[in-house]
Amino acid sequence: MESLYLLVPLSLAIVFLIGWLFWRALAGGQFDDLERPAQEVLMDDDQPRP
């Protein structure tokens, strides 16, 4: 049970870290265009340039 005193605060720290990462991604515009990823699958540039 003592491990909880370490693990719970640790999980709290991780939660806020993930929250901060998501905020960075959001502010960086990663979620602005949600249509693009769906289309990009079809246009994946998997051919070597001639």
Partner: protein, 761 residues
């Protein structure tokens, strides 16, 4: 054989060349050059992934953008599908000197950064034009930036609530499964951790609820946010107190879950609404130039939008008016034709004399009407709002009473949360927005959302003849000497003259010393020969007695050259309108001010049983009033010019919308594309929309009626209340997102399979 690039029929100017392994046919040198540029650039896969054909490329005016900052936002033009956006991005990135290019797929915009030492904006745009697209730099409007910020914040709130709810659930889980086995200290650690996570969920993610409740408090009216805010705040305070004192129950998990579910429903609603209103937004965000005044002359280059409504004075081109009318074909534009602000000039430069600018343009009028539509609500929705407000009061009283009776604050919170009629508020707005947007795409601009209610119940349609069933545009029958007639009539702006000059692409004969005799005709000399076109007496004066039938004659000295019969033809979809209305069991009445004999012929031809001619506006009005007295719900379709009284009397009115006259725009529905077939489509949409709205209300009310007694009896705990409330909102949201009307077959362009030939795989 169709063109490989634009898929239009390749006619006389066809060209054949080898591309991607086989011989390809092109309709013109432009398509050929563009296709080769695309393939040579290494982007041949575009032809394999596209869903729509490309636009036929055209001559562009030389680029004269100067921008030295090395960064620009571009609006992309001539995009037909996502493959175009991919191609544009690839071309931009491959263009020398471009550091970075990102295409926004949803907004059809691109952000480009380049090295000013190596290239210029002009060269970047030229690279796009080489593959058949165009782009114009733009400064982001403040409104759009604000919308974008708002959307980001909403997503961020949703994430905080979702992630918080998940994590709090983790901390709550041991207490649920272990029950009494959990040591008091361990449980206390979990509670504190939950409190720490729930705090940002409540303070940041739930701010819209508290802000809404605060506004409702300031406005001294009970809305839907008040019980939600009270429930969230009450639950949190009670849980926090229990945590600090180490006694009682905590429901942090329920609070954060409720926040997440409600925010998810709201985010989905605004996302769906934004998608539905995208077409409308393009219209609203495009503002006509206000620096022009009527009478000014402007030259509009191909690819540009017309800055104001006007009349073409020089040049021959075509215009894309789909944004304004739902008409997807390009419309030919030549001298004398009207052009609309916001439509795109497609082929050649046009000289336009401005007739209406700024707020007077049709685009501005449509935008105003669309905004008005958004502000008005059907009676059913208003009734639901009143019920919602009444329910809120009941909920607040019931929560207080139950809390005191049981002596348990948690029961009060459960009642507040479980029975808040939130779902009622979600049921209607998005459906109506979607219905309005779908109708606009089909050429029917709904100017009042309340019209849907009447549209759904229409039993009778009263149709005007001239300008409604007929185009109100005269054509001349008779094929003799049309070239001479066209040449003579060409300088005239008279409607009859347009009957002769509307043929396309002809080079007119030269007319010497033309003279206009108002009310009689036109005289002129062609190839040294004096000719007259006009009425019988006018032509008989030089040709002698005329025996032929007709209402317009073409005569030379001493001889009659041709006789023409003028008529006002039916619109092409008039028959379809009548048939479709009949298929929906709607009675059709033809009411015309025209000669009864003419009206009868027309009614018989179209199969309309109830018709009446020689009607005054008053008689039409009385007809509608009589039908309404019999309990019928009457829709009137008119041209909006001379039937204002009858349009006003009708339960729902349609007006043909070719002009921006205020009379036309006072109708409930404006047929912006002048397509009669839009009427049954609007009826279907209204039926589907109202059905969905009603089922949403039914669900929300049934849920509330079922849950209220359970919650008051203390049978529902806070977590069940949160789940029930959230699920109810989400279900209503999903219901509102159902397709409107019959499912449409997925429209892949037939050409995509053809162009996806094995050589690209």
């Amino acid at each position: 054989m169709d063109c490989f690039h634009c898929e239009l029929p390749a006619g006389s100017g066809r060209r054949v060349s080898r591309l991607l392994g086989t011989e390809r046919v092109f309709c013109c040198a432009g398509c050929e050059a563009v296709a080769h540029a695309i393939v040579d650039g290494g982007f041949g896969r575009y032809y394999g992934t596209r869903m729509q054909a490309a636009r036929t490329p055209e001559e562009f005016k030389p680029v004269d953008f100067s921008c030295n900052s090395g960064e620009a936002s571009l609006i992309l033009e001539r995009v037909t599908c996502a493959a175009c956006l991919w191609l544009i991005e690839q071309v931009l990135r491959a263009s020398p000197g471009v550091r970075r290019a990102d295409v926004h797929f949803t907004a059809h915009r691109a952000r480009v950064t380049w090295d000013p030492a190596q290239t210029s904006l002009a060269r970047v745009i030229a690279a796009l034009r080489a593959v058949g697209y165009d782009a114009t730099p733009y400064g982001a409007r403040r409104q759009q930036e604000a919308d974008e910020r708002e959307r980001r914040t909403a997503l961020w709130r949703l994430f905080v609530a979702a992630f918080g709810a998940m994590q709090v659930m983790m901390y709550a889980f041991p207490a649920y499964v272990a029950g009494g086995d959990l040591s008091a200290e361990a449980a206390q650690v979990m509670r504190w951790a939950s409190l720490v996570i729930t705090l940002p969920v409540l303070v940041f993610a739930c701010r819209p609820f508290f802000a809404g409740a605060w506004r409702e408090l300031l406005g001294r009216r009970l809305g839907l946010e008040t019980p939600i805010a009270l429930g969230l705040a009450g639950g949190f305070v009670a849980s926090a107190w229990a945590t600090v004192t180490g006694t009682g129950e905590v429901y942090f998990d329920s609070i954060s879950m409720l926040a997440f579910l409600l925010l998810a429903a709201r985010y989905a609603e605004s996302a769906a609404r934004r998608r539905a209103a995208a077409a409308l937004d393009r219209l609203l965000h495009w503002t006509p130039s206000s620096s022009l005044a009527a009478g000014a002359r402007v030259t509009v280059a191909p690819g540009e939008r017309f800055p104001a409504d006007g009349v073409v004075e020089g040049g021959v081109s075509s215009a894309d008016e789909s944004l304004l009318s739902g008409e997807s074909r390009a419309l030919a534009k030549r001298a004398g034709d009207a052009v609309l602000a916001g439509s795109v000039n497609l082929e050649q430069p046009l000289v336009v004399r401005v007739t209406r600018a700024g707020a007077e343009t049709r685009a501005a009028a449509i935008a105003r009407l669309a905004e008005r539509a958004a502000a008005s609500r059907p009676r059913l929705v208003e009734a639901a709002d009143r019920i919602g407000a009444a329910l809120t009061q009941i909920v607040l009283v019931a929560a207080l009473a139950a809390g005191f009776y049981w002596g348990d604050a948690w029961i009060a919170v459960a009642v507040l949360v479980a029975t808040c009629p939130c779902a009622l508020a979600l049921a209607a707005p998005i459906v109506l927005t979607r219905a309005n947007a779908a109708a606009l795409a089909k050429g029917a601009l709904v100017t009042r959302s309340s019209a849907h209610e009447a549209l759904e119940r229409v039993t009778d349609v009263v149709i005007d003849k001239t300008g409604t069933l007929t185009a109100g545009r005269i054509v001349a029958a008779g094929s003799d000497c049309r070239d001479l007639a066209a040449a003579l009539e060409s300088p005239s702006r008279h409607p009859i003259a347009r009957a002769f000059t509307s043929n396309e692409g002809e080079s007119l004969l030269k007319v010497e010393s033309p003279r206009n005799f108002p009310g009689e005709g036109i005289e002129g000399t062609i190839n040294g020969r004096r000719l007259r076109i006009g009425n019988r007496a006018f032509c008989e004066a030089i040709a002698g007695p005329i025996a032929a039938q007709g209402n317009v004659f073409l005569a030379g000295d001493g001889e009659l050259l041709a006789a023409y019969e003028l008529s006002d033809p039916l619109r092409p979809d008039a028959q379809r309108l009548i048939d479709e209305l009949r298929a929906r069991n709607i009675a059709v009445h033809l009411a015309s001010g025209d000669d009864p004999a003419v009206v009868e012929v027309l009614a018989r031809r179209l199969g309309i049983e109830r018709w009446q001619g020689a009607m005054t506006p008053q008689a039409k009005h009385d007809l509608v009033a009589r039908l309404q007295a019999e309990g019928r719900v009457v829709a009137v379709i008119g041209d909006g010019l001379n039937d204002t009284p009858v349009l006003a009397r009708a339960d729902v009115s349609f007006a043909m919308g070719s002009g921006a006259d205020s009379a036309q725009l006072s109708a409930d529905v404006v047929l912006t594309g002048e397509r009669l077939a839009s009427v049954p489509e609007a009826l279907d949409l209204a039926r589907a929309a109202m059905r969905i709205v009603r089922s949403g209300f039914a669900w929300a009310l049934a849920y509330n009626a079922a849950i209220l007694p359970l919650a008051i009896l203390g049978l529902i705990g806070p977590w069940e209340a949160a789940l029930g409330m959230g699920a109810s909102s989400i279900i209503v949201m999903l219901n509102a997102s159902r397709p409107l009307g019959r499912a449409q077959p997925w429209k892949a362009s037939t050409s995509s399979s053809r162009s996806r030939s094995p050589s690209f795989s």
